[in-house]
């Protein structure tokens, strides 16, 4: 973090001057020389600012209203989740993954569960795989709805925000049906799912599938040809494709620049290769293209869910490998072995072999990777989350300069990061 212009500790003016001088010295090389002569102005945006979508601080160098340089400062939401997970057993650490990206809770569960399954070599029944796909896509829609709500709110349209949160509520209701929680579900577990779908889930989902496309049409009608929206998004925040690749940008941001890269297609997981869907790709790499891509992604997600509902197989939703998955409650009364497995799994936990795996999934924001190191004990030796927000956010440094201060708000919205995902 920058010591930059943090004057909260000083009491007298002389110390103030010293702190400023020290801070400016550190910034040399990162901001232009004009800032030192006073020709440009340094402005602190955030960490508490409505359009930074969390606690992101930007140190801006402004020439009038145009941005000369932009230095993002993150870490305000660092909670040491990776370190904490090292002190818990594999299954207990799962609940912490929900908290990483609070708009993609169950998607984080999925990535972590896939990593464990790869590390220990655990099977997942087909029914669980299909339900995982349904949930991951519902989560994508929910996350994109929040993106649309906040992005458009930043640009000045209040009503879209209300509509989007209304629609997202339907998805959260469905999550509550299956997991008992609206947000931190921890529903996807290593080896499958926590429990089977509740009977009321399928009718609710069918109703949602009929409801949502109409609403998406509404949003398109509201925004697509809206001159204010177009003025503020077309040709703003352009990323050329070569630069996007070199900076390891992922997700809709990368696809907006015309790179057709979706992990669901490139390295399919959870049976995504059996579904028919298109990956929308943009041409100009500007804010407007990213808007179109995310809107189309919601439609494609609905398509995937429809297919998944049609072919939803029966059978168990959790692996019956008792060395890793606890037995059903009913077995405990009749089987001594089940009691032993139950006791072992809920006290010591299961033991993973020595090895290192990297698993990645397509989160709503981009490539979500889990680097998992096992050391032959029941606790992960190291868990590292490659979070899309962290990698995408560094692009602000060179994406923003040259645009106006008001464009910055549109660009931040189009990157669609969550700071929980970024700082972990």
């Amino acid at each position: 973090m920058f010591t930059g212009l943090d004057l909260t500790h000083s009491t007298d003016i002389e110390t103030d001057h010293k702190t400023v001088e020290l801070a400016l010295k550190q910034l040399r090389g990162h901001i232009s020389e004009k800032a030192f002569t006073g020709d440009t102005m340094l402005l602190n945006m955030g960490p508490q600012h409505p359009s930074t979508h969390g606690v992101l601080r930007l140190l801006l160098e402004l020439d009038g209203e145009s941005v000369v340089s932009c230095l993002p400062d993150i870490g305000y939401l660092h909670t040491g989740i990776e370190k904490n997970m090292e002190a818990k057993t594999y299954e207990k650490a799962l609940v912490m993954t929900d908290r990483i990206d609070y708009l993609n809770n169950l998607g984080n569960n999925l990535a972590y569960a896939l990593a464990i399954e790869k590390l220990v070599g655990l099977d997942v029944p087909p029914r669980a795989q299909t339900i995982r796909v349904i949930i991951a896509e519902l989560q994508r829609i929910a996350s994109h709805l929040v993106w649309l709500a906040t992005h458009i709110l930043d640009l000045g349209a209040t009503s879209v925000m209300l509509y989007c949160f209304r629609d997202r509520e339907h998805i959260l209701d469905m999550f509550e049906m299956i997991s008992g929680q609206r947000m931190m579900g921890s529903y996807i577990r290593p080896g499958g799912l926590w429990r089977d779908l509740r009977p009321e889930f399928i009718p609710a989902l069918r109703k949602f599938l009929r409801y949502m496309p109409r609403k998406l049409d509404d949003y398109h009608r509201l925004l697509d040809n809206n001159p204010f929206f177009i003025d503020r998004t077309k040709g703003i925040g352009v990323i050329p494709s070569q630069i996007a690749i070199n900076w390891s940008i992922s997700g809709p941001l990368l696809r907006g620049s015309g790179v057709n890269f979706d992990i669901r297609k490139a390295q399919p997981y959870s049976g995504y290769d059996q579904f028919e869907f298109d990956v929308p790709v943009g041409q100009n790499g500007d804010v407007y293209d990213r808007y179109l891509i995310r809107m189309e992604e919601m439609r494609q997600s609905l398509r995937i869910i429809e297919q998944a509902l049609e072919r939803l197989p029966g059978g168990p939703v959790r692996s019956d490998n008792r060395k890793f998955v606890p037995p059903p409650r009913a077995e405990l009364g009749t089987s001594m072995e089940a009691v032993i497995h139950h006791f072992k799994l809920w006290t010591e936990g299961f033991v993973a072999p020595e090895g290192e795996v990297y698993v990645r999934v397509e989160s709503p924001r981009g490539e979500l990777g889990v680097y998992l190191v096992g050391d032959g004990t029941s606790k992960p030796y190291r868990v590292h989350f490659r979070t899309p927000s962290f990698w995408n956010l560094q692009s602000l440094e060179w994406m923003v300069p040259g645009y106006m201060l008001s464009d910055l708000v549109a660009i931040i919205g189009s990157v669609d990061f969550t700071l929980g995902d970024c700082d972990r």
Binding site: G29, G355, L393
Partner: protein, 172 residues
């Protein structure tokens, strides 16, 4: 290309630089000497058959108390050819320095800063080697294995006095 074939290509190109080839669950890791890391990375990116143009992940690991203590894993992916490989470079505990790869993949910028912040492994040649997640005046590197996790001891009747003494109370 198959991951093993990629690893062998790298081994042939750098018989000295490539220390070891590991495989686990179909994922191949090429252990690279830190002196040769930049050259290997450049070959990975520029070679016609490899074309690793996308740096997927950087993950640091602390193998304390083993030596060399720190390892940084570079997960590479080729958007054009669709294959991936992992490079691994070790840094000893008394000299935790690795060359920066920001010159090869610009996206390594923040992740390298994160590893410096969390493990204290600094990257030589990095333009902005400062803490990124922790406060600027923090001491220690939290992800090191000898860095305590820190927690509050549960207070029972038998240890009530001792825990009470250790608790930070406001001064008069």
């Amino acid at each position: 290309m198959e991951p093993m074939a990629i690893a062998n290509t790298l081994k042939e190109a750098f018989p000295q630089g490539v220390q070891d080839i590991l495989e686990y669950r179909g994922e191949v890791t090429v252990v690279v000497r830190r002196e040769a890391l930049v050259e290997v990375a450049q070959l990975c990116r520029d070679d016609e058959d490899l074309q690793f143009n996308y740096l997927s992940d950087l993950a640091g690991v602390d193998y304390y108390p083993a030596e060399p203590r720190f390892a940084v894993n570079y997960v590479l992916f080729s958007l054009r050819l669709g294959h991936s490989i992992r490079l691994k470079a070790y840094a000893p505990g008394d000299d935790p320095v690795l060359p920066t790869l920001t010159g090869v993949w610009a996206g390594a910028n923040w992740p390298e800063r994160e590893i410096f912040d969390m493990f204290g492994v600094s990257f030589k040649g990095h333009a902005n080697m400062r803490r990124i997640l922790m406060p600027f005046d923090w001491t220690g590197h939290p992800h090191r294995k000898d860095y305590p996790l820190g927690y509050e001891e549960v207070q029972f009747s038998f240890n009530y006095e001792r825990v009470q003494r250790q608790k930070p109370h406001p001064k008069e």
